[in-house]
Assembly symmetry: C3
Homo-oligomer: 380 residues x 3
């Protein structure tokens, strides 16, 4: 067991092998085969297909008072790691294989649902492994697996994994063609995932243009939606953007998690943590100099969890127009923890308006669907 | 009472109404009418006149060891919120109403005096409400009100408010004309404030060019001015600037508060907090790549407060000249807190040189004037 | 004694004088004469030759759990202070004295060995004094002395000092000629230091191109090199670069120290601190948009110290090539502290492969050489 851990510590950038199955915190559905890099790739693309590992020490500013690292910080790191791999792959493979190659930079368009399986604490090292898993004509899929490493105890735990979809953008904002991945082994499963997300993104584009719910002044009870509804605003600065002047998707996800966290704290008045983020689409790139407005509100409560919807609108302040555009929206699930870090019952939400009742019903369906999927995964 | 709080929590961006009067920590002079937005405005300017609310969770890096958020961080947030509203107003109203409109970015030129009425703590949310209150031919006045929200206890306290004056700058550094505010109701009071600040800025421009006091080596007593005098230096980086490459006023105010705080700690050797910042003029824009030198020194002590002057000089390092220019200067009042967070007596300063005695006398007059104004406000 | 401290507090930017010798924590080899600025300089260069003092309050994010500020943060501040002085000197003296002067920005090329003599704690002020000590045809040497100031106790301790070498770069990346330093007094010692570092840099350039050691899967024992070997990766963002778009040397040194610190924690499983950084050469400038990969591994353990080598490779992601270039490498010495902040014995490393044994032997020689030098310095 100790041996197994040591191998994992060491083989950064290398092939994960038989130890994974023996590792106690490894969920059963995370079969080691998924980590094995294809052997039959062209020699000169080998390096860029190897995946990158990004590690970062977690400081006090990245966590809440109980010492739990905010899920938003992990999402931000994941996006950065995915961006590194996608940018490297596009440029190395593209220069070699594309007839009209021009340099490109990866931009996030979608994150698949991710569960936060284990908490991460201040002082631990977040270690992110990345893998190129699929390319379509214009998109790159990256699988990211996150571990929390306690360097003093010598322990490493899987905290979460997600698939991120990127496009490659030229400096004049064109979406560039993606060179096909030389590994053709698992292409069929990739195609299925690609078609599924394409369908969902298309559906999502049309349903999510409704306005942020307005709050009736009569809804004053602490269990109402309006009581905990929270708006954050952020003027996008130089720090938040990539070299192309666009806000990195991870920056937005971090703000979304912060917004959802405040909603959960207001509702529960306890220590809360992110349990999952649903699949999230980035409809709009957000430019430097934009005002980003995030609004979070509770849609549903189960006995021990809360679903919070966060919608993000962007407004370019120097456009001379006060129009906002919906840039992103997603559903976060939070749990409330007692002093022993164990999930505790949450106060039940009381939807009042017709809109709130509708949202509540739709959210309940998502809740049951997630539950079904988890059960399916644990038995398969 | 709880109802009242809940309304306030909810109506972000909305009209503050009758609840304010019933709110216990609301100072009497802060009449709710001030929050009501004019109803008779053109429909398409409505959105940009509504004001913005900026919220931010306060982390450990933003506070001192007793958990008090530094006043400088609040000043920085205030400036950012004001910049958002002024930039939005100029561009939306300007594009519609100005014959030769060009995009502009708000730049801070003055902050009126602000008292820090209540402390803010780590883990609380700073919530800033902004309101457009006056425009002159070339300036915009924004009123900013700051609340500290304890999300777990469900309490919100007013911490401070200030009026900030902005100009709008084009990308080639011209000061742009400001479209007049459609709301003409309270224009007379605004004009009075405008003329008053104009006079003060003009007066200030000529009196504040003296050098930073040099310290005599004989002044070694811990109660002397020289003992606690502190210099901070900061190389202005990309992080500190707006999209136009100029340092944001809030960044400078944060550094000024940090400098004043170190002076106060050296003198009192206790936990100190910012009680107020006097009206502050920004004479010079500071470019990226400049070295900013801040010097803080005590001018006066009352039984329970210290006045500290902070002067800020900027030097553009690649100009090939070692000349500094006075960019800003202001007076901060600090109080010393005991372990129960109550103000305690401060060691009295001993001015020695003629310069120090002169400063001390002028500071005493400011102290008495502030006291008179506070009494006036609380009885009016 | 208190008098002496007060003088030091006050005379920022001024001549350090007789008090230094009387200061108890001042090491004997740090003779006060070194601080005295030459009197015979041209009047108009006086200001820029005076040196700058940079002060910064240390926050919780800059320290480990025992409250010790990471050595890497101090190295970063040192580099920033040196950059300010070198940039100012080049431009002021250059504009006056160089026939084809063009504006330049200082870029770090080498740091001489530095010992961390005393720890610095959260809440203390890091105060850095800089002095121009030598110029060659194309380089500037800056001596930087760092103090930790406890403002509440009124105490200041010397923590470390180092000599940093800079070149001046034009905006089109040419290395610019440096105007000669008017002070010709200590030029002979400067020449000796210059020639010594030139020789070392040349030697280093050829010996350090070997690859990062690959880890054998059999090396699973916690005392092996492979067990604690650590890789950090960082995508260079806007925040990390100077106005010319290149990563500041201090940013890299901070990451190197973080990487070495993680290696030391994994090996010792205790509170560890940086004891010294060996002379470090910057072979390659690193551009914005590059992926920086840092790998740290133990080379040697003495009874109470660990030597860790950190190698840094840079890869510009949009180059279309996956090639990495060795940007920097250095040797850090760490010590392990018990709960009373006293150095404690460290677990001994077990080199296994031929490569590891070779490194161990070379490291032992460096260890003995450092010991000899320390003894020499304390007796001279």
């Amino acid at each position: 067991m100790l041996k197994c851990y040591a191998v994992l510590t060491q083989c950064r950038n290398a092939v994960f092998s038989s130890c994974a199955a023996a590792w106690p915190t490894f969920p059963r559905h995370l079969h080691p085969r998924r980590f094995i890099m294809a052997a039959l790739i062209e020699e000169d693309l080998k390096h860029c297909l190897e995946g990158v590992t990004v590690s970062r020490l977690m400081g006090p500013n990245e966590a809440n008072f109980a010492g739990n690292v905010h899920g938003g910080n992990i999402l931000k790191l994941m996006e950065e790691a995915g961006c590194i791999l996608a940018t490297r792959y596009y440029n190395v493979a593209g220069k070699k294989n594309l007839p009209n190659y021009q340099p490109g930079m990866a931009a996030l368009v979608r994150v698949e649902r991710t569960d936060f399986l284990q908490p991460m604490y201040i002082g631990e090292v977040a270690e992110l492994h990345t893998e190129l898993t699929f390319t379509s004509a214009h998109s790159i899929e990256v699988l990211i697996t996150v571990f929390a490493e306690d360097c003093i105890k010598g322990q490493k735990r899987l905290t979460n994994r997600a698939r991120l979809w990127y496009v490659s953008m030229s400096s004049d904002e064109k979406v560039l063609p993606i060179p096909p991945l030389p590994n053709t082994k698992k292409i069929e499963q990739g195609k299925i995932r690609y078609e599924k997300q394409k369908k969902e993104r298309a559906a999502h584009r049309h349903t999510r243009i409704e306005r942020v719910p307005s709050i009736l002044q009569e809804e004053l009870d602490p269990q109402t939606v309006g009581y905990s509804q929270t708006t954050l605003r952020h003027l996008v600065g130089v720090v938040d953007t990539n070299s192309a002047g666009y806000v990195m998707g991870g920056v937005i996800m971090k703000l979304m998690d912060e917004c959802a966290g405040l909603v959960a704290v207001k509702h529960c008045k306890t220590n809360v943590v992110t349990a999952s983020m649903d699949a999230t689409n980035f409809h709009q790139k957000v430019k430097k100099g934009s005002l980003v407005t995030l609004t979070g509100f509770i849609t549903f409560t189960s006995p021990k969890s809360i679903e919070i919807e966060v919608v993000v609108d962007a407004e370019f302040l120097r456009s001379g127009s006060a129009q906002k555009e919906r840039a992103v929206s997603s559903f976060f699930t939070f749990v409330s923890l007692d002093s022993n870090h164990r999930p505790m019952p949450v106060p039940q939400i009381m939807p009042v308006t017709e809109e709130e009742l509708e949202r509540h019903k739709a959210a309940e369906e998502r809740y049951l669907e997630r539950k079904r999927q988890r059960e399916q995964e644990s038995t398969s």
